[in-house]
Amino acid sequence: MSSSIIREDSTRLSKFDQQLFKLESWFSLIGGITISMLVALAIANSLGRWLFNLPVTGYIDWVEQFMAVFAFIGIAYCQRLGGHIRMDILLSLMKGRALWVAEWASTLFMLLITAVLVYGSYFHFYRAFTNGDSSMDIGIPIWPAKLLVPVALSFLMLRLLLQLWAYSRAILLGSEQPVGVPFIEDAATQANREAESLGAASEYDKESQEQS
């Protein structure tokens, strides 16, 4: 995992960040497990159909339910690790307070749009809940999947509030490396970390050390 890019210390902010990160990590793991459940389901469906002419009942309905889980549940975890794509060419030219002010403003914008989407997606859920909408094939209720959207986005709001707090603190204190927020990395560091996430870097480094 790439959590090492975020500074931690003993401040209240950092403790809160770590607690929230634990919860977000669990959510992300649930997302990952749901992906493997999708894999298992699709294998069962294809093999069942090919070998016994017996596909999984309600396969498409279940896939759609799973998708709602892994599409949203890790959204705050991804934000915590700076995983959502952005163009950082201007930000990488900034330093110190100017950088934190820019980060603060962009985080605030994200917070506002997320709040709007929490509200809107709650309406979407509420309609499905009151109408008793269910899936096409085997009639699974759809509202739990729709409820997941505002819930996951609410956790994202919490994460964004925490990041606003961290950037505000950095602006006030003029700190070089604030706690609880990801840093912008140069191209090589970023790419190396990506390779590490494939599990490769550490092992080969170990091997080359042993050889030398």
Partner: protein, 463 residues
């Protein structure tokens, strides 16, 4: 100001909001939220102009609120996480070493043999991992030490590895082609099939280039001989999962015996079983699952964020207006296409390929279709010699190849930086020099793909 806001035409709103969205992106707002935010603000503006702010705002909120769930649960998107999981498990299935070893034994005898082996093993690993930059990082550790030990030129070795990573996106499984297919509303399977031949051809062009360079300059790299046929065949079993993944995807889609998601799931199942066989533990699997979950959520968030913006664009009618403008330019369509591709080359230097495509395609894709002669045009009447469906597929392959080219384009080609980052004894300038022949070959490949669309369209046409 207020008067202008309430009387502005949808098209004016479209242009202004798109401009604001680009500023959001430029100042570093995460692309998914910059597009979703701009899309929402645009909807508010358009509806407020029609029905007053209070009512318009609520309508926009409710409309925006339906998009994340409805778009993220589109069935064809279910393929993406299976491809991502394959990518994260590919390393743990022991595929990198097995591939390089097998390639070395089979093609090492050629001039520049280890370079050719690197090209084919990176192509294989990049195809299943789907991660260009990470592939270069991994092979900088696997292949460069072996090449240097055999007396290969270090610039050449670094260049081969940096370029080899770019072969990730065309050979199936390719998540980026799936995303392209979803955004332009084309069949996912067709796009995956279309990428196969250009991907394989690119790998062979790289391989041929290595042989040619080694023949021209004997100091670049000697052949590696002495492997028996027995040793060659013994190296094959370790690489079989890769061939299985590519094979099952081709069979499911080409033969129509399964959906792309089922093919992806079968591939992921085999790679996971192989990783367990190679001793993968729960902690590694857990990391792979969490990383897959993170990347999946990132891509899905971008997709619904962009589609919220697309919903607004539809109301503003901006894509049609832009298409009409592009189609009306009084010059050869090929020149216009060239400018569009150059714009991608510049943008690709600053942005991840998936982000770049999602951000631009909603406007650029209809323009390309218009440039070709419109959505109903036949191949005979079109500007590029392809029907409108063919144009969608052909442009997808070209633009993805273009995005990969950006990874080795100076001054900030990411693959070159990562190779230099891993190998402290090789400077970035050295890698860029080493990669130059491959860059030139890629430019030529793109030119050939533009000139001869049938290279892309032949395989899908056989389906």
């Amino acid at each position: 100001m207020i008067e202008f806001m309430s009387t502005a035409e949808p098209l004016q709103i479209g242009v202004i909001v798109s401009f604001v969205m680009l500023i959001f992106v430029l100042i570093g707002v995460r692309v998914a939220f910059a597009t979703a935010g701009a899309g929402f603000l645009g909807l508010v503006w358009i509806f407020s102009a029609k029905m007053g702010f209070e009512k318009g705002f609520i309508v926009a909120v409710k409309m925006a609120g339906t998009i994340p769930h409805s778009k993220a649960t589109t069935l064809s998107l279910s393929l993406i996480p299976t491809f991502i999981l394959i990518g994260y498990l590919a390393y743990h299935a022991g595929l990198t070493k097995a591939l390089f070893e097998a390639a070395k034994r089979w093609v090492g005898w050629l001039p520049g043999g280890l370079g050719v082996a690197t090209v084919f093993s990176t192509a294989g690993f990049a195809a299943v991992s789907g991660a260009s930059v990470a592939t270069s990082a991994v092979f900088a550790r696997v292949a460069i030490p072996e090449m240097l030990k055999m007396g290969y030129d270090k610039r050449f070795a670094a260049g081969v590895v940096a370029a080899g990573g770019t072969l990730a996106s065309l050979i199936p499984p390719s998540a980026i082609l799936v995303i392209y297919a979803i955004i332009v509303e084309q069949d996912v399977g067709t796009l995956l099939m279309a990428g196969f031949i250009p991907g394989i051809v690119s790998a062979f062009i790289y391989g041929g280039l290595v042989v040619f360079l080694a023949l021209m300059n004997k100091d670049l790299g000697p052949p590696v001989r002495g492997f028996t046929w027995k040793q060659r065949f013994e190296s094959i079993p370790g690489t079989l999962p890769i061939f299985f993944v590519i094979f099952i995807i081709m069979v499911c889609i080409y033969g129509g015996v399964g959906t792309p998601t089922e093919a992806g799931a079968l591939g992921a199942g085999v790679i996971m079983a192989m990783a367990f066989y190679k001793g993968m533990r729960w902690s590694t699997l857990k990391d792979a699952l969490m990383e897959s979950s993170k990347l999946t959520v990132m891509i899905f968030t971008m997709i619904w964020g962009v589609l919220l913006y697309v919903r607004f664009l539809g109301f503003a009618d901006l894509p049609n207006a832009f298409s009409a403008w592009i189609a009306g330019i009084d010059q050869s369509p090929y020149i216009t296409l060239l400018f569009i591709l150059l714009a991608y080359a510049v943008l690709g230097m600053f942005m991840d390929a998936i982000g770049m495509l999602l951000l631009t395609l909603p406007v650029v894709y209809p323009a390309i279709i218009a440039l070709n002669g419109g959505p109903l045009v036949t191949a005979a009447d079109s500007a590029f010699g392809v029907s409108s469906t063919g144009c969608a597929i052909w442009f997808g392959i070209i633009v993805v190849k273009m995005a990969e080219l950006c990874l080795i384009t100076p001054p900030i080609g990411l693959n070159c930086f990562v190779v230099a980052g891993v190998r402290k004894d090789i400077s970035v300038q050295d890698v860029f020099r080493g990669v130059t022949p491959f860059f030139a070959a890629d430019v030529l490949t793109i030119a050939v793909l533009i000139a001869v669309p049938s290279i892309v369209l032949w395989l899908p046409s056989m389906m």
